[in-house]
């Protein structure tokens, strides 16, 4: 079942002079109940802008966001149905309130529970669901008494309190210790299955994106350059940018030669990025062209979206020309 459908989403930010800056360019995708969609891309690619638009913290400049098939859902209903887990658990909890307050308020504000014992039991139940026990002790604590992982569990519980249909996770583990990342991701995965949530998982980390999501979208400069089933996209990347991302991911057990090669790739990427900064105007063509090792003349025009079967689609001229280059 489609929980949330996004059509031609455009997000723009006003600039002090000149045209507004377009952070997201005509983005379309759907979030299915009980499935995870991963959104990967480097810093500045527009991932956070997508989240802000979906959580209605910024107003999109264009496009539609359909909740359960309906456009322009009233704020009250939308607020309940779409919730978000923030990146930094040290900033997303109010230092002057107890854990209990963080869970009770969304319950009351969205009308999921009435004041008094009903809210008490609901808070305890939420804490139990995110494995924070004993619930009574944890509820009394302030955020500064909790560890990073515990804080993120509280943040997840808060997002679950209104019983949402869609959960947006903005790099939920990037600020956490490596040792507890997997726990938090497994928790999210379990909750998704139990509650039939549609999960949008925004991340830098290709390995966890592949492991925890059924589909992956790769964003570059506000556009989705490649999308498809996660194994397809990660193991068989077609877009040069995805290939670059996959090559940049560090691997344990790499040989010396591989490490050296990886370092050369990184150095090349860095010089390419510097070159790109000099050449800021890309015009209408492929946005990755200045960094692309396979750039051709035709790349100066807008690349078509090539379907490779199985839902795997790439925004690249290389794939449209009779698959000769592949």
């Amino acid at each position: 079942m489609t929980a949330l459908e996004v059509r031609d989403l455009v997000v723009e930010y006003a600039q002090s002079r000149g045209k507004p800056f377009r952070a997201v360019e005509k983005l379309s995708f759907t979030l299915e109940a009980g499935r995870t969609l991963a959104l990967v891309g480097e810093s500045g690619s527009g991932k956070s802008s997508v989240l802000k638009a979906l959580s209605r913290l910024v107003t999109p400049a264009g496009g539609q966001i359909l909740l359960g098939g309906r456009d322009k859902v009233p704020a009250k209903e939308y607020r309940r149905a779409v919730q978000m887990v923030f990146q930094d658990p040290f900033a997303s909890l109010n230092p002057s309130h107890s854990v209990d307050h963080h869970l009770r308020r969304p319950l009351l504000a969205t009308g999921r529970a009435r004041r008094g014992t009903e809210a008490d039991t609901a808070v305890a139940e939420l804490l139990r669901q995110v494995n924070l026990t004993p619930a009574a002790d944890v509820a009394r604590k302030r955020p500064h008494e909790l560890s990073g992982g515990q804080r993120q569990r509280v943040a997840i519980a808060r997002a679950l309190a209104p019983a949402p249909d869609v959960l947006l996770a903005d790099e939920p583990v990037s600020m956490l210790d490596v040792s507890i990342r997997l726990e938090i991701l497994n928790l999210l995965d379990d909750l998704k299955r139990q509650r039939d949530l549609a999960l949008l998982y925004v991340t830098h980390d290709l390995a966890t994106a592949r492991h925890f999501s059924s589909d992956i979208m790769v964003m570059y400069r506000g556009q989705v350059v490649e999308r498809g089933p996660s194994d397809e996209v990660i193991l068989n990347p077609k877009h040069p940018y995805t290939q670059l991302l996959a090559a940049a991911a560090p691997r344990t057990g790499a040989t010396r030669a591989e490490v050296r090669a990886a370092r050369q790739v990184r150095a090349a990427a860095r010089s390419a990025r510097d070159a790109e900064r000099r050449e800021t105007v890309v015009g209408d063509g492929c946005r990755f062209r200045p960094r692309c090792p396979f750039a051709m003349d035709v790349c100066a025009t807008r690349p078509p979206e090539a379907a490779l079967g199985g839902g795997h689609r790439v925004l690249c001229w290389l794939q449209s020309e009779g698959k000769a280059a592949a």
């Binding site: 913290l57 504000a109 500064h144 990073g148 997002a159």
Partner: protein
């Protein structure tokens, strides 16, 4: 890993008392422990408590400050602890009554000024847009108006009306600076993730301001209130000394005014003008001590690490 980043990013926000167990008794115990953590805080609180007790109960115990006697311009003695004025009034009784008057004016003016600065500063910072522009303009105007001349002009305009007018005048001229500080802090707080999260689950705006933002500014507001009290008492004393306050009100400033008029300084009646002047100085110093002490307790980075003198002598003793 847990506590260090929190205190470094939000030094004002985390209360030092442990919130693990509830109840008013536990709260009081926590407050007492906090108080004892800083020597400045302890001394400041002790002095202020003494002043407040004198202001509250002193007038009940001391004599009538307006009563005249036959002892004119007497130095301190057993009958008149702080001597008498030129007209034979008891300086000690006057000082007690003035303590109440000055404290009331100081606290009321500071409360009013703080309330105005909270409404204008936090309101403007949170609302943004044209409301922020308008409120900022107003506070900027009040900020650049030279304070004392304005106070003098307004005070002479409403001269002799009442203590309330004095309170109003002082509050009117002292809210702007704190409003700007609160606006800046609110601008920073309103884009924090926890405020965004509250918006996400559809919390109402007044609740976001009062419940999510305001508690994180309490430390700033308290310190601003303390300095507002000092400012109000000093301004009131200045106004009274210039003869711009209601002369029938008993305040430290009015005592100085009458002492000056009776040429107590040139006449050598030091017992008349030294006590009120000393009270103003000590009260201001005590409030400053509280403010610095609170900073010390709330922000661990400002804490001075000095070994306790008792322990140090003991270790020296064992070494010898």
């Amino acid at each position: 890993m847990t506590t260090a980043p929190i205190t470094s990013t939000l030094p004002t926000a985390t209360p030092p008392a442990s919130g693990s167990s509830g109840g008013p008794a536990a709260w009081a115990r926590g407050a007492w422990r906090t108080l004892r953590r800083s020597r400045r805080l302890t001394i400041g609180f002790a002095i202020i408590t003494a002043f407040v007790l004198v202001a509250a109960f002193g007038p009940l115990l001391s004599g009538n400050p307006d009563a005249f006697s036959q002892d004119l311009s007497q130095p301190p003695s057993g009958a008149h602890w702080l001597g008498t004025t030129q007209t034979g009034q008891d300086v000690f009784a006057q000082l007690i009554a003035s303590t109440r008057g000055s404290l009331v004016v100081g606290a009321a003016a500071a409360l009013l000024a703080t309330a105005v600065s909270i409404v204008i500063g936090i309101g403007g910072g949170f609302l943004g847009g044209w409301a922020d522009e308008a409120l900022s303009l107003i506070s900027n105007v009040f900020l650049v108006i030279p304070g004392l001349p304005l106070v003098i002009v307004i005070a002479s305009y409403v001269k002799g009306s009442s203590t309330l007018a004095t309170i109003g005048v002082i509050a009117l001229t002292s809210w702007a600076a704190s409003a700007r500080v609160l606006r800046a802090q609110t601008l920073s707080l309103r884009s924090r993730d926890y405020v965004q999260a509250a918006r996400l689950y559809g919390e109402r705006r007044w609740r976001i301001v009062l419940v999510e933002i305001l508690p994180n500014e309490v430390a700033i507001i308290v310190s601003q209130f303390i300095f507002a009290v000092i400012f109000a008492i000093l301004t009131q004393a200045g106004l009274a000394f210039l003869g711009l306050d209601d002369p029938s009100a008993m305040t430290w400033g009015n005592m100085l005014y009458f002492a000056q008029n009776a040429e107590a300084l040139s006449g050598g009646s030091w017992w008349w003008f030294v006590p009120p002047g000393l009270c103003i100085a000590v009260f201001g110093a005590a409030l400053s001590l509280i403010s610095f002490g609170l900073d010390e307790v709330l922000d661990p980075r400002l804490r001075v690490h000095r070994p306790r003198s008792g322990r140090r002598t003991r270790t020296k003793g064992t070494a010898r």
